[in-house]
């Protein structure tokens, strides 16, 4: 009883798979283990400097009274950013995907439009929105002026994080919509016909047919969203820089403290310290991801 294997000799498959695996191990696994090892040392950025084993000192420094407030602020901002942006992205992209699944005129154009932000790079997106939210001359300032208000936008501590979340949602809609569209097109038409015969309204169809059948897509999107946004700092860095307390994210703190460039992160930390924050972030992301995955899989299985 052999399984169907259509590609001829297995040696070619094994060879190229091994080569690919080698690249992944060398450039993915080895550096990850390396970061774990580095987190127990005080290695610094420049060559020729002595490297000492410091044990758990770096981890203790993360929780030290001098840094705890800053780090907890970063963790709190990261959680708010992650949960809010993922929730809004999924709700919006589900609505958009359902809409774009109907037979509308200009549907293809609308789909391309929704996907366009994904094609732009983070720097381009950051530049666009920085120009839009320019407090003295940008379009957003003009719109705010219609309501008789003005704002510093990214400079205003109260709304900076909300604006970054807004831009993140805008940038992240494309991929989510595509995944949901794929999932929607896999739902058999007969289910909707049966629901109509049973007298279900559109809202009931959405709640009782579409969403349960979309469970795998929802799982995929939620996981991608949460894991991505927990580690995502590029937008916050480009839009508000590394020195803004309101948008301080954990991965941004890692970047600043490991590679400098932030006057507020504290002077000259070792890269060993940055590695230890990385490991702490890994644990946070891992715990949250596994918990979410377990919950969503259970919901999927219930169907």
């Amino acid at each position: 009883m052999s399984s169907y294997y259509p590609f001829g000799r297995r040696a070619a498959m094994r060879g190229s798979f091994a080569a690919g695996m080698a690249v992944l191990v060398v450039f993915g696994i080895v550096p990850a283990v390396g970061v774990l090892a580095i987190s127990f040392t005080n290695v610094r950025a420049l060559p020729f400097l002595p490297v000492d084993w410091v044990g758990l000192d770096n981890y203790l420094a993360f929780f030290s009274p001098a840094r705890l407030d800053y780090n907890l602020n970063a963790v709190r901002n990261t959680l708010i950013y992650s949960v809010t942006s993922t929730t809004i992205t999924i709700a919006l992209s589900l609505a958009i995907a359902v809409l774009l699944n109907q037979k509308l005129r200009g549907r293809t154009f609308a789909r391309a439009l929704v996907f366009l932000p994904t094609v732009l790079g983070v720097t381009v997106i950051g530049l666009i929105w920085t120009l839009i939210f320019n407090p003295s001359a940008g379009p957003a300032a003009t719109v705010w002026a219609w309501f008789g208000a003005d704002s510093a936008f990214f400079g205003d501590q109260r709304i900076a994080l909300a604006l970054v979340i807004f831009v993140q949602v805008w940038a992240g809609l494309g991929v989510s919509v595509v995944i949901f569209l794929a999932g929607l097109q896999a739902i058999p038409e007969e289910l909707y016909e049966v629901a109509s015969i049973d007298g279900a309204s559109s809202w009931q169809k959405l709640r009782l047919v579409t969403i349960p059948m979309l469970a795998p897509s929802i799982t995929a999107n939620v996981l991608l969203g949460i894991v991505g946004s927990l580690q995502n700092y590029q937008l916050a860095y480009v839009l508000t820089g590394p020195n803004n307390a309101a948008t301080q994210l954990l991965s941004l703190a890692i970047f600043s403290q490991g590679f400098g460039g932030s006057s507020a992160a504290g002077a000259g930390q070792s890269q060993g310290y940055a590695a230890s924050i990385s490991m702490i972030q890994f644990v946070i992301v891992g715990v949250i991801s596994l918990a979410v995955l377990a919950y969503l899989r259970k919901r999927e299985a219930r169907l």
């Binding site: 001829g8 000799r9 040696a11 070619a12 060879g15 190229s16 080569a19 690919g20 080698a22 690249v23 060398v26 450039f27 610094r44 950025a45 420049l46 060559p47 020729f48 400097l49 002595p50 030290s64 009274p65 001098a66 840094r67 407030d69 800053y70 920085t130 939210f133 320019n134 407090p135 003295s136 003005d150 704002s151 510093a152 936008f153 990214f154 400079g155 205003d156 501590q157 508000t240 820089g241 590394p242 020195n243 803004n244 307390a245 590679f259 400098g260 460039g261 932030s262 006057s263 507020a264 992160a265 504290g266 002077a267 000259g268 930390q269």
Partner: protein
Amino acid sequence: MATMTLRTRSRVRFGLAAGAALTSVALIAGCSTNASNDTGEPSGTLRIVVSSADASDAAFKAINEAFEEKYPDVTVEFSPVPNDQAVAVIASRLSANNVDIVTMNVATIPDYVIGDVKSDEARGADAGVYLDLTDEPFMDNFTDSVLDVVAYNDQQLSVPLGLSYYTGAYYNKTMFEEMGLTLPTTWSEFVTLCETLEAAGISPLGIGGKDSWPAGLTMNAAVQGLYPTQEDKQDLARGLWSQDIKLTDDGPQEILDRVQQFYDFAQPNFAGVDYAAIPAGFANGEFAMTVDGTWNQPTIDAAVGDKFEYGYFPVPTSENADDNKFLGGKADLRLSVASGTKNKVTALAWLDFLTDPANYEAFAATAGFVPAEPDIPAGEFLDSIAVYTSTFSPAWDTQWTGNPNAGPNAGFPFNYPAIAPLGTSTPAEAAEIAEKDWAAGF
């Protein structure tokens, strides 16, 4: 028969696949070899990484073109990197040993600093990352007093390309004349001036708050007036390190109070304005003055053009006019040679070329630096501030050594980013937060 053909073909295919994979891994791993050039004529590639600024980038490009003309065998690879990434990029290139000339910034650590608090660059200097240039002939081109300021443990590890002053403000001379305003020499006069401007509907001050560090220039200006001489600043730093002076004491608190007043006089929503937008705002008359550095003069000059006359004066943050006489500055854009450089001859030849007074004069003029070499004609703008720079007064941030074990709010250590609207605190609260973080480092 068919099986044998298939076997050979797939062996060839397997071989090709494996070969392609190995080659791509090797290419990705990027082994590049350069022949080492320690003696002889300049040749090969010279790789330079510096912090970017429009004016100095243009000046460097002109020098590079002239150097390549003089030595046709040389190719100069010039990579300007934005200020906040420069440290990281330079560190990684030094570690990979694929750079020859870099910017660096290290000062001798004062003896009152306790603990293992050296910056990466200071540790690197100790470990020999930078080439010792003390005995190089081109170092004689520089003014002795400047070389004294940049020496590290009595060695010259860097070439100081110029001086910058940044505790002053550009002001709209034409507007001042039309409104009959004179330059203030004390803090009270400055406040009155700002209030007069506000009453006329003009924002007195422009600050690029979004990047955070431009607001730090106001903090430096405050310290410059309240602690005018180098000794005053060193005493303050020593007191803070020994914890005899707290960040909540009257002196440090007054600095933060001054910063708060600067913020009050700044243009609306300045916390969201980029530093890069300031020259255009100044040129459009959105604000009358801006606390900025002399490095930005070429950019401001280009933005203002013929619209109005502008000048530069030290912001008077002390009530005593004598304390406000001199601008605070630093030796800016210091270049070092990586000790592992594979092209030492070309690197030293390039530095020799750059620091030759004939080439240096044009470089300093384009880059907007005050020349660090004696007897270089300085240009109209720098002549206009010569009276404020006749004595070189190092600014606060060149005299302060931070404690990496202290919390992030005590970095400067005066906590200007926490004051509203950049942060959410009043000056008193900001001082308390900073003192808490500072004390936690001991």
